[in-house]
Amino acid sequence: MSIKVLFFGGLKEHVGKSETQMNLQPGMSAEQVLCQVLGDDPHLEKWQRTVLYSINQEQVEGSVLVQDGDEVAFMPPMAGG
């Protein structure tokens, strides 16, 4: 499956890009996609603890499965206002 992945805030700086296209095996959850993106990154655990997930602009739990064509965003905790 092919998905669009977006990064924001401090995570965007950490990975060095604001968006990317990924081709993945079906049946992956949003959290599993994050782990694949960060790979061996020593900060993976910290991001796993703090990242918020959205799929197609709706906030979801990390366990939700991603589908072909989805827009997945990895977001630090919100800090607007």
Binding site: F8, G80, G81
Partner: protein, 139 residues
């Protein structure tokens, strides 16, 4: 976009846009960029938004507040991009039949904005450093 913009915003602009003669209490809130954070001098802010989702969530929050405080009306705008000290980052106006609901709904709205709207702020300090700020959801 109706709820987010890179242009200057204000509660006076929002309050002039609507009129509810049945409402006797009008509560306005502006979140303004201040010149300090945790003891450091702040020079300016950059607000980053997940634009289509921020637009959706602000609309959702407006409808939630209006549903929880019946007979209230809410107007809200959040600015993003480069902001200077003194700029208004978020403007909220609540019209309600009475002041108790107006105050309560307005406070609830800003608290929910801070927790749920996908916007992040990056502060630039007087010593040349900069960082992404964590949410202070209680303040």
């Amino acid at each position: 976009m109706e709820f987010i913009t890179k242009e200057k915003i204000s509660t006076s602009e929002l309050s002039l846009s609507e009129s509810y003669p049945e409402c006797g209490g009008v509560c306005s809130f502006e979140g303004v960029v201040r010149n300090h954070h945790e003891g450091k001098e702040v020079l300016r802010l950059n607000y980053e938004a997940y634009e289509p989702m921020a637009e959706k969530v602000l609309k959702q929050l407006k409808l939630e507040i209006e549903s929880e405080w019946s007979a209230c009306h809410v107007a809200v705008r959040h600015r993003y991009g480069e902001l200077e000290i003194g700029d208004v980052a978020v403007a909220i106006v609540v019209w309600a039949p009475h002041r108790a609901e107006a105050f309560a709904a307005c406070q609830a709205m800003i608290n929910r904005i801070k927790k749920r709207v996908p916007i992040w702020k990056q502060e630039f300090y007087g010593d040349g450093s900069f960082e992404w700020v964590a949410c202070h959801c209680g303040t």
